[in-house]
Amino acid sequence: MTANPPTPTIASNEAKEPSTMDVSVGPQHPGSGHVRLLMRVDGDYIVSIDPDIGYVHRGCEKIAEYRNYVSNIPHLERPCIIDAIHLNWAYVLPVEELQGVIVPPRGQYISTIAAEMNRIMSHLYWLAINAGVFSGHTTIFMWAFGDRDLFIELAEWLTGARLTYSFLPPGGPRRDFPSGFEQKLAKLLDYFEKRLVEYDRMFLSNPLVVARAKGIGVLKKKDAIKLGVTGPVLRGSGVEYDVRKVEPYGAYADLEFQIPTFKEGDSYSRYLVRFEEMKQSISIIRQALNKMPKGPIARKAPLVAPEGEAIGRVESSRGEITVMVIGDNSDKPYRVKIMNGSFRNLIALPYLIRNVHVADMPIIYGSLDYWPVEADR
C-alpha cells in the first residue's frame, strides 16, 4: 500500500477498497467509552472512521416536554454527569430570561464558584481517563482521581450530592456556603496548585506523552472555524473564543482571567489548553472568594413561563452549551433544544482520524474529550 492513501470524504457510503478491512472499536473496549467507531484500516493506517453513536440516547428532549421546569433539572443534568452544573446553568439561563427573574449578586458568585470547581473536576476526569488510561498512562489516572475526590467532598458539603447537584433551580442556587467552607476551599486550592506542578512533571513533560501527542491530529484554524468545533478543541487551534468573555454570565464580568489559546492545533496543544484552564479556574475561584458580596442568594421564580423563545449559553469544560427553550404559558416547556460541546465536536472525529496510524487513534480521540453520554442526550 502507499504511504498516504487518498483522503476520502467523511461520509461513509463510499466504495470499499479491496485492501481495506472494517474493524469495529465497539462499546466493549478498554479505550472507547460508550460509542462505537467503525474503522476502515489499510494495514497500519486508518483510512476513514465512522462514528456510531446513540448507545446512551435516552430521549432527554422528549422527556423535557413532559416534566415541569424544575423537575427537568435532574434529568437534563445527567448527560454530562461530571460537569453537571454547566448543563444545569445552561438550561436555567433561558428559563430565567423567559420568566424575567434576575438572580441576586451573591447567588451569581456562588454559581460561578461552583461552576469553576466543576470545571476543575471535569478536567481531572479528562486527564485521568481520556489522556491517561486511553493512552496507557495509568499513574496519572490514580493521581487525578485521588485529587478529584477532594473536590467532590467539598461539593458534597456544599450541595448534598457527589456528582448530580441539581444546585441551580430557576431563581438562583438553593444553598448558601456552610460555615467554614471558604477556608477549606482556599486550603484545597493551595494544595492543588502545588499538585499541578507535579502533574506537569509526570505527564506534560513526559517524553513519551510528548512523542505520542505532538504533531498528531492537527486541526488548522480555518478548519476549526469551518467545522464549528468548540471549547478546548477550538482554543487549541488558535481561535480565541470563550463564552465567559464573549457574553459574560454569572459573575464573570467582574473577574479577571485569561483565555489560554495555542496555535499549533495538535493534540498536545489541546492538552495544554486544559491544563492552563485549570490554573485559570484556581485564580477565578480565589478572586470570587475575595469579592463575595453579601445579601440574598436567590429570588422566587414563578412556576409558569410565558410564551416566547429564549436562548442561553455557557462555557462548559467541553465547550459551549447552547440551550433554546420555547415556552407556551404553561408549567411545562414546549420545546427544549440542547446543543452541547461534545455533539458539535463530533465532526472532528472523522475529520481528524484519517490517514493516521492505528496507535494514534486513542490519542486523538482522547484529546477531543468527547463524552458520548452528553452527545447522545
Binding site: P30, H34, R58, K62, Y125, M142, F145, D149, L163
Partner: protein
C-alpha cells in the same frame, strides 16, 4: 458380556466416578479453594453503559482500591473476565451488545446491576428507547440502588457478591 451390558457397565462406572469427584471437590477444602480463587480474582468487563460509569471509575481509584480484592481492570480479552457491571441506563441499542458480551463471557460469570436505571428504569423509566428490566436479558446477582450510587455502595456490593461466591456450589 454382550455389547449392551458392557456399555451399561462403563456408563454406570463413569457416572459413579463423576459423582465421587463432585462430592470430593464440591465440599470441604477443595470447594473452599475453588471458591476462594474465584472470589479473589473478579475481573470486570471493559464496558460502560451510561453515566454511572463515573462512580465506577471513582471506585477503581486510589481511595477505595478494589485491587486489594483482586479486582483489576485488565485490558485483556473478554473471555478472561467474569464480572459484568451494568452501570446505568440500558438503551435498546446497548442491550443488544450487552447480551452478546454476556454470552461471550466464560462461566462462572456474575452480573451487578448498578444504579437505579439498571435496577428498574430509574429517572428515565418512561423514555422510548430504554430497557427497564435488565433481569430479562440475563440473571443479575446483586442490585445496587442509587443515582449514582456512592463508590462505597458499589464496593459493598462487590463484598456481598464475594460472600455469595464463597457460599455457592461449585458445580451449579
Amino acid at each position: 458380556m454382550s455389547q449392551e451390558t458392557l456399555q451399561d457397565f462403563i456408563g454406570a462406572w463413569i457416572g459413579k466416578m463423576s459423582e465421587i469427584v463432585q462430592t470430593v471437590t464440591g465440599s470441604g477444602p477443595i470447594k473452599y479453594l475453588i471458591n476462594w480463587s474465584r472470589m479473589y480474582a473478579l475481573w470486570p468487563v471493559h464496558i460502560t453503559t451510561a453515566c454511572c460509569s463515573a462512580e465506577f471509575g471513582a471506585m477503581m481509584g486510589p481511595r477505595l482500591d478494589p485491587e486489594r480484592f483482586g479486582m483489576q481492570a485488565v485490558a485483556g480479552g473478554l473471555r478472561q473476565c467474569d464480572l459484568l457491571i451494568v452501570e446505568g441506563t440500558v438503551t435498546k441499542k446497548m442491550a443488544k451488545r450487552l447480551k452478546i458480551v454476556y454470552e461471550q463471557m466464560a462461566k462462572p460469570r456474575y452480573v451487578i446491576a448498578m444504579g437505579d436505571c439498571a435496577c428498574s428504569g430509574g429517572l428515565f423509566h418512561d423514555s422510548y428507547s430504554i430497557v427497564n428490566d435488565v433481569h430479562k436479558l440475563f440473571p443479575v446477582d446483586v442490585y445496587v440502588p442509587g443515582c449514582p450510587p456512592r463508590p462505597e455502595a458499589l464496593l459493598s456490593a462487590i463484598v456481598k457478591l464475594r460472600e455469595k461466591i464463597r457460599r455457592e456450589e461449585v458445580f451449579a
